[in-house]
């Protein structure tokens, strides 16, 4: 099945908007986050539709905020949801030569690892973004976003991708795009991604130890290094 870019955007946007708005009543932190099964969509949208899927998720999230509380943090949410879709797409094609599918155990493992890295990234972007841009350090944001992202990506994202890539649907996924930074140095992907994962685990441990950026300023250095790592993978 081949879907035009316009339709790719419309489908992802509509699904994100309706699901995102429906779950606004299950608030975990007022104005910031809620139980979000909609987080199953970004990795699948990214893997299937690439940057178009990411854009639809970002804008869909912004529009869904109209049904809850639209504020300046919503812009951060938009950026995080774009990356939550775009990063899996870039990581998949960095580590696999196949179009996204879950037909083999290796691919399932790859999907789960990508979902985990994605959940780390989104949680870090939102929690630290709130701290850096709005001076609000709320560790529970990190925890809720992390579990929402990883849990729902595994629970619903995986079956959704299975259906979309099954023999009956055979969705034509977005093709691989050139890697501007890692393009010529593909062997660098392992050390770079390992360091990035290490930085993300450091952030996770930092949050779970109950530390705050105000007391331990070095975490901003870790964040800055992680931004560089993220850019290398995305561009």
């Amino acid at each position: 099945m081949i879907i035009s870019r316009k339709k790719q955007f419309a489908i992802t946007f509509a699904a994100f908007l309706v699901l995102g708005a429906s779950f606004k009543v299950m608030t975990l932190i007022e104005g910031l986050t809620e139980v979000r099964p909609v987080n199953a969509i970004p990795p699948v949208a990214g893997l299937c539709f690439g940057p178009v899927g990411g854009l639809a998720c970002g804008i869909g999230n912004l529009c869904a905020d109209f049904f809850g509380e639209l504020n300046w943090y919503s812009l951060l949410g938009m950026a995080a949801n774009f990356i939550a879709a775009f990063l899996p797409y870039r990581l998949w094609h960095l580590f696999s030569n196949e179009a996204p599918n879950l037909h083999t155990k290796r691919n399932i493992l790859l999907y789960l690892v990508i979902s985990l890295i994605n959940a780390f990234t989104t949680a870090w972007l939102l929690a630290f973004g709130l701290d850096v841009f709005f001076g609000m350090w709320i560790p529970t944001v990190y925890i809720y976003v992390f579990f929402n992202n990883f849990g729902f990506s595994a629970l619903f994202g995986m079956p959704l991708l299975i259906i979309l890539t099954s023999d009956s649907v055979r969705l034509q996924c977005e093709k691989r795009r050139r890697y501007m930074i890692l393009g010529g140095e593909r062997r660098m992907k392992w050390p770079l991604c390992a360091v990035y994962a290490g930085l993300m685990v450091t952030v996770l441990v930092f949050v779970f130890l109950g530390l705050s950026p105000g007391d331990a300023g070095w975490i901003h250095g870790v964040s800055a290094a992680a931004v560089l790592g993220l850019v290398c993978q995305l561009v």
């Binding site: 429906s22 009543v25 399932i108 079956p159 009956s168």
Partner: protein
């Protein structure tokens, strides 16, 4: 689709149905079962029709007939369940409904469709586990509600086997979309018979709309499309086995999100041991070590 992919798909449906409880609980008591059926399947049908409009134009007569049969079975299940719940406590009703794990292999045996020794033994172990988790009262079974719940069980088994047959011949996507349309229609007819003002009689609050939308997406649209896809690539017994793990998933959900389930009483030593027995039964029923042993003995 590989067997592993299929199992993931079927497990996700069980998660959907187990967590649907959270949202069903949030619905107002005055919302009738028919209104619930019409609204959820109606939204799911509309959504699926929009998404798969192109495919719907190529629908065959046989797909429409198969979908009609499935939707009638679904409606019958709802009607029997409604009558059963009138005179049975919820725990007893849920126990009898989960006996599908016995009626599916029994029907398969009668239809001679490849029941293995592992399937049969596993089903018995799962029933033992269900006895532990349900916490039913033996005396409460002596009512007409039991008969209705047994009918639910039988209709569910027929539905499972029918889906198995139909999905092998028809497009699973079209089957699920048209089934949803027919179910919404039959739900509306029943709702109209019960309450002629239908949609106008509902008090639409944000919470109600939110729960209805969530149930329509996950428990109806997603779950039924996934079920049809899953059954295209597997047999009814595998579906019944994975569906029987619902109490285990409900228990896990109750542990991880207790606030959503409201009480902590669902999690105790007895229910935990029941869940373990169900999981063991599922492993026995889903594997083939007994059949392998038997064939090795025969070969020797």
């Amino acid at each position: 689709m590989t067997k592993f992919e299929n199992n993931i798909l079927l497990l996700s449906i069980t998660v959907c149905w187990a967590s649907a409880y959270i949202f069903v609980k949030r619905l107002p008591d005055e919302l009738s079962a028919f209104a619930y059926l019409t609204l959820t399947t109606g939204i799911a049908a509309a959504l699926l029709s929009i998404l798969f409009f192109k495919q719907l134009r190529h629908v065959k007569k046989s797909t429409i007939l198969s979908s009609l049969v499935l939707s009638l079975l679904l409606t019958a299940i709802l009607l029997f369940e409604r009558e059963g719940l009138k005179s049975l406590p919820a725990s007893n009703a849920s126990f009898i409904a989960s006996l599908t794990i016995v009626t599916v292999p029994l029907l398969m045996f009668l239809l001679k469709s490849g029941l293995t020794l592992n399937n049969a033994v596993g089903a018995v172990v799962i029933v033992l586990g269900l006895c532990l988790t349900s916490g039913f009262a033996l005396s409460a079974f002596f009512s007409e509600g039991t008969v209705f719940m047994l009918l639910v069980c039988l209709a569910t088994a027929v539905y499972t086997i029918a889906v198995d047959r139909f999905t092998k011949k028809e497009d699973p996507l079209l089957l699920s979309v048209i089934q949803m349309i027919f179910t919404a229609f039959s739900g509306f007819v029943l709702w109209f018979a019960e309450e002629p003002t239908t949609f106008a009689s509902v008090n639409y609050t944000n919470e109600l709309l939110s729960s209805i939308f969530i149930l329509a997406f996950f428990a109806k649209a997603y779950a039924y499309v996934a079920l049809m896809f899953g059954q295209k690539y597997t047999d009814s017994m595998s579906v019944a086995i994975i569906a029987s793990t619902e109490p285990v998933i409900t228990l896990l959900l109750a542990v991880f999100i207790p606030a959503a389930f409201g009480t902590g009483e669902r999690f105790n030593a007895v229910s935990l041991s029941g869940a373990i027995v169900i999981a063991m039964g599922s492993v026995i029923a889903g594997s083939n070590f007994m059949t392998r042993k038997k064939s090795r003995r025969e070969a020797a």
